[in-house]
């Protein structure tokens, strides 16, 4: 770089240092260094996951290293300034190299070196010398004819006392060199065009501001919006069925930019086909392109691997997601089970407010799936569809939220049917599932009736009183009885509202360490008998309690119910949300790109492929026949060289030599053999 430091008034060193600069730029060492350096940089970019949300990086590296790495641009290596500089250097270096080598290469292709001296020919690794009958011009002409017949381009020149015939083949090999390296330059140029440096620059200079808040498209400020004249970009947009978009989002580091399009894309329909195994088989989007310049909207269906190219904008099927499916949900209060369920109408990505005894809640619908295909328990090869499911969050006033995954249809486990609802506090942890048993007619009625009675103090009190004999020692006086009844009623209420957690809490509060287990057991026996008899009454009312007593299924139902009650304590929601109805709306994730440099790059690629094959599979070979008067007429000196594969050229040379000798009517060979030896 010394070249730039010179002042105009010192021309000589300037010229020389300019030469040094060119020398340096075109040097093989720089080339190799660059190839290696770029490889290393590229490796960094693959080992460190690129363009992740910045908080993730902070978590991974800690604030200090996060800062350092961000300065180094390691979160987006491939558009980091220093990386682009490396590529630029490679471009320059290759260009300079081509510039410096082209003349020699072209000369190599054209010039036959007819003035070559005999003594330099004798220095060749491949050479032979012999005597031939006939005068020099005749022999020279014959030799030339032979070489031509063997596919060589031939020139001849008569010097004072000798005639030199020069032949050359495979000079396209040199062309190969040119093609390969010009190709590198061309490809780099194309890449730079698509790399859209002006945009990167004005973004670095702050003329364009990367938006990091997540805003809807229509609220994005102009300084984060790019006009349709932006030549090169690659962005993505999510369009729900029936929706339209005339923009895409470009991800930039930890934020994005909004890129306007000169047309509107409408998603008419999106389809996913599945293989029997539930794996996706194809994604297809039926698109309508609305463009003022079109007589009527352009209809086209794109799929993975089948993009639509419109006006140089390529529209690709990239992903899919829910497009805001409309949902009808029955919310049942777990605190006041006797209340009628509340019908909620909402949609994915929408929020609803619900008022509950525990205060207002926000229902945030997050996702909907029409199918949930899993390997079936019976045998892993077959698959069962667990039907529609909805994911939503319930957020309280304090802003704390629990996430729920509820299946619409009852799930069957070991032949019994349950309403299944998973819950978790953070997406990081797995769902914990609540199984509520379904009654004979596939509803939750029986469960909720029982629950409402268990939560109804008066009902419980009556039951306890009725079966007091069994529970309370007969000899105890009225006061103690009342007290005991109260505490049992309290216990049942506690369990009903707070589930197993509350029970445990109670025990830990009231009972000394030593006899907690035993206390727990007695609590549970009491609960079972009380809730049991409430359940028996219910069965009687349902008229399913015959002489033969409680049926297998009903007994099972009771156990499941108790389990559900126990679990409800930590369910974290006063509402049980049952998906009642839905209208599935899908959204298609489109990627829209504009790459004017693409064809330049492809041109470069073609040159590269051709060039490499030329270079490897066309060998540039030169041979000379120098004929001078000799004792039997003419002395023939034959020598040659190839720029690849010694062994191969050696065999060819020997073949040529034999042909030449027969053609020049010579049998015995002089000099050649020991000459061959001497240079081994």
């Amino acid at each position: 770089m010394a070249g730039f430091t010179n002042t105009p008034n010192s021309p000589r060193p300037r010229r020389s240092s300019g030469a040094i600069l060119v020398e340096f730029l075109g040097s093989m060492n720089l080339a190799i260094t660059l190839l290696v350096a770029i490889s290393v940089a590229a490796i960094i970019g693959t080992v460190l996951q690129q363009n992740q949300p910045y908080p993730d990086y902070v978590r991974k590296f800690g604030p200090f290293w996060f800062e350092v790495f961000e300065r180094l641009g390691l979160y987006d290596v491939y558009s980091a300034g220093w990386f682009l500089v490396l590529l630029g250097l490679l471009l320059v270096s290759t260009a300079v190299c081509v510039y410096r080598n082209t003349p020699t290469m072209l000369r190599d292709m054209r010039h036959f070196r007819l003035d070559v001296q005999d003594k330099s020919l004798r220095a060749f690794h491949q050479r032979a010398e012999w005597q031939a009958p006939g005068d020099t011009p005749a022999v020279a002409e014959r030799a030339g004819a032979v070489l031509a017949a063997q596919g060589y381009r031939v020139r001849a020149k008569a010097h004072a006392e000798r005639t030199v015939v020069a032949g050359m083949r495979g000079s396209w090999n040199r062309l190969g060199y040119l093609l390969t390296h010009v190709a590198i330059v061309v490809i780099c140029i194309g890449a730079l065009v698509d790399g859209n440096l002006p945009l990167k620059l004005s973004e670095r200079l702050g003329h364009i501001k990367v938006e990091t808040r997540d805003l809807p498209a229509n609220q994005i400020p102009p300084e984060s919006t790019l006009a349709t004249d932006n030549p090169a970009f690659r962005g993505s947009v999510r369009i729900p069925e029936g929706g339209q978009a005339d923009f895409v989002f470009l991800n930039v580091r930890d934020g994005f930019l909004l890129q306007k399009l000169p047309f509107r894309v409408e998603l008419v329909d999106f389809r996913v086909d599945h293989y029997p195994s539930g794996q996706p088989k194809s994604f297809e989007s039926d698109l309508l392109i609305h463009d003022p310049e079109l007589p009527e909207p352009l209809k086209h269906t794109i799929a993975v691997n089948h993009p639509l190219i419109y006006k140089g904008y390529a529209i690709y099927q990239a992903s899919f997601s829910d497009g805001g499916s409309e949902l009808t949900v029955m919310a049942r209060s777990l605190d006041a089970p006797n209340l009628d369920p509340l019908e909620l109408k909402g949609a994915v990505y929408q929020n609803l407010k619900v008022v509950t005894p525990r205060g207002p809640l926000t229902v945030e619908f997050i996702d909907f799936k029409p199918h949930n295909v899993f390997p079936s328990e019976e045998d892993g090869d077959r698959f069962t569809d667990y039907g529609p499911s909805v994911v939503f969050k319930l957020r309280n006033e304090a802003g704390e939220a629990m996430e729920y995954l509820n299946y619409m249809a009852p799930v069957s486990l070991e032949g019994r049917h349950y309403f299944m609802s998973g819950m978790r506090a953070t997406p990081a942890e797995p769902y914990r599932y609540l199984y509520i048993p379904m009654d004979a007619n596939g509803s939750l009625e029986r469960f909720f009736t029982l629950r409402s009675r268990v939560l109804d103090q008066e009902h419980v009190r009556r039951t306890v009183a009725a079966q007091a004999e069994g529970l309370i020692p007969a000899d105890s006086d009225a006061a103690t009885r009342a007290g005991l009844v109260d505490s049992i009623v309290h216990l049942v209420g506690l369990f009903g509202r707070g589930g197993m957690d509350a029970l445990v809490g109670q025990v830990e509060k009231a009972v000394p360490e030593a006899d907690r287990n035993q206390a727990m057991e007695s609590y549970i026996t009491v609960l079972q008998s009380v809730i049991g008899s409430i359940y028996l009454d219910q069965l009687r009312e349902e008229g399913v309690l015959g002489e033969q007593g409680v049926s297998e299924a009903d007994a099972q139902f009771f156990d499941d119910t108790l389990e559900a009650f126990a679990a409800l304590g930590s369910y974290g929601s006063p509402l049980l949300m049952q998906l009642a109805d839905f209208r599935h709306v899908e959204a298609s994730g489109l990627q829209i790109a504009r790459a004017p440099g693409k064809n330049i790059v492809y041109l470069g690629c073609v040159m590269l492929m051709a060039g490499v094959f030329f270079m490897f599979y066309l060998h540039h070979r030169r041979v000379w026949v120098s004929v001078a008067p000799g004792e039997h007429g003419a002395r023939v000196l034959f020598a040659g060289s190839g720029n690849r594969d010694r062994a191969e050229f050696a065999t060819e040379f020997e073949g040529l030599q034999r042909v030449l000798m027969t053609a020049t009517g010579t049998a015995e060979v002089v000099v050649q053999k020991e000459a061959q030896q001497s240079c081994q």
């Binding site: 190799i32 063997q150 794996q279 194809s282 993975v304 990239a318 492809y602 073949g655 053609a663």
Partner: protein, 389 residues
């Protein structure tokens, strides 16, 4: 290209290349052309433009291979006939794979591939044995075994292709779609490449080294089969349902094959380099000059095809991911491999480096390549939707 006998009688008349083909060459040409004509006549109606182009393309390639490397003719014929036989035996019912004797024990893709594995391992052993025992005969056996292994492997792929369609028309696809399938491809291609150089240099001494890397691949293949049931034919994810895959992947594996071969020869080079020139072993093993030469040729071939493969990959990416270059880890590692060998070639061709450093570099190159081929799928996340172990 050496000079032919009639030319030597009189150097002035050098017949055009087509005059120098023997009748067997012409028979070969006729056979290939007729076969493709028959195919297009019989199945043309079912083929789309792309498939027609591929069919047309196979004619010159098969012809050229057969003319350039005579051994390709019997090989191609045997593979074709046995594959057709297998397809005929299946007769449209996958179940026959278990009932029919020949399918069950020889030609169903699974058994063909098992045969390939066994034969490659045996061949490796034979090559080493022939080195130690210095037995020409064992050497010939080893070559024969390698030929058979490559044949069975190729048949296995062909039949697997058919089987995938027997599972279901929408499941059917060319067997280059996951790690298991490409490992077979790798073994076959590397095997054939080695056999080519063996014929070209009339020396079996390189076999022990070349076959060792193939056996390693086979070992992985078997582990993968038994650990992960990888041999089960899976339907294609949408991203892979592209004709680009059909040319991109095989081209890539010519590259990988060349690089692997070069690395093994590099090892051989370093060994020979440490031996006394006069020692027994030095006389049994290939000469340094030959190793250096073949190493260059293998890398050159590999580099040329890898270049094409990478370009094809970019074109595919442009169609599937919306950009010809996304710096996806797999892509990036392909670039790294490519730059690495570009640097290697420069050192050899412009700086005239030879021998030890280049041998070491070729070996390291194989590690880089292996990471690009396996490591990326195992350790790095990316858009490439197949090959995760």
């Amino acid at each position: 290209m050496s000079v032919t006998s009639e030319a030597m009688k009189d150097g002035l008349t050098r017949p055009a290349w087509w005059r120098r083909l023997g009748w067997f060459d012409w028979a070969w040409g006729a056979l290939v052309v007729l076969a493709s004509l028959y195919t297009s006549a019989r199945y043309g109606a079912l083929m789309d433009g792309f498939e027609m182009v591929i069919l047309a393309g196979t004619v010159p390639v098969t012809l050229g291979l057969g003319w350039m490397w005579k051994a390709m003719r019997p090989y191609t014929l045997v593979v074709a006939l046995l594959s057709l036989a297998a397809i005929a035996l299946y007769g449209g019912e996958l179940a026959r794979g278990d009932s029919n004797f020949f399918l069950k024990y020889l030609l169903s893709s699974q058994s063909a591939i098992m045969w390939m594995s066994a034969l490659f391992v045996m061949a490796t052993a034979a090559y080493w044995l022939s080195l130690f025992m210095r037995s020409e005969f064992t050497g010939r056996v080893a070559s024969a075994l390698t030929w058979c292994a490559s044949t069975m492997g190729f048949i296995g792929l062909m039949v697997r292709w058919r089987e995938s369609y027997l599972i279901g028309p929408d499941v059917g696809h060319i067997p280059v779609s996951n790690l298991y399938e490409v490992f077979i491809l790798f073994a076959v291609i590397t095997g054939l490449m080695y056999l080519y150089y063996e014929g070209r240099y009339r020396s079996r001494a390189m076999g022990a080294f070349a076959l060792t890397v193939i056996s390693a691949a086979v070992a992985f293949l078997l582990w993968y089969t038994f650990e992960h049931q990888a041999h089960e034919i899976q339907p294609l994810v949408p991203a892979l349902q592209s004709y680009w895959m059909k040319i991109h992947v095989p081209t890539n594996f010519v590259g990988y094959g060349g690089f692997a071969l070069a690395a093994m020869l590099g090892i051989a080079y370093l060994i020979v380099d440490r031996l006394e020139p006069a020692s027994v072993w030095a006389t049994r093993l290939p000469t340094l000059a030959q190793l250096d030469d073949v190493m260059y040729k293998a890398i050159a071939l590999g580099f040329a095809f890898f270049t094409v493969a990478t370009v094809l990959g970019a074109m595919w990416a442009a169609e599937a991911w919306g950009g010809y270059w996304s710096w996806d880890p797999k892509e990036t590692w392909a670039l790294i491999v490519w730059l690495n060998y570009a640097a290697w070639l420069h050192m050899r061709l412009t700086k005239g480096w030879r021998g030890r450093p280049m041998a070491w570099w070729a070996i390291i190159g194989l590690f880089v390549t292996t990471f690009a081929f396996l490591g990326v799928n195992m350790f790095l996340s990316g858009l490439h939707s197949y090959g995760t172990l």
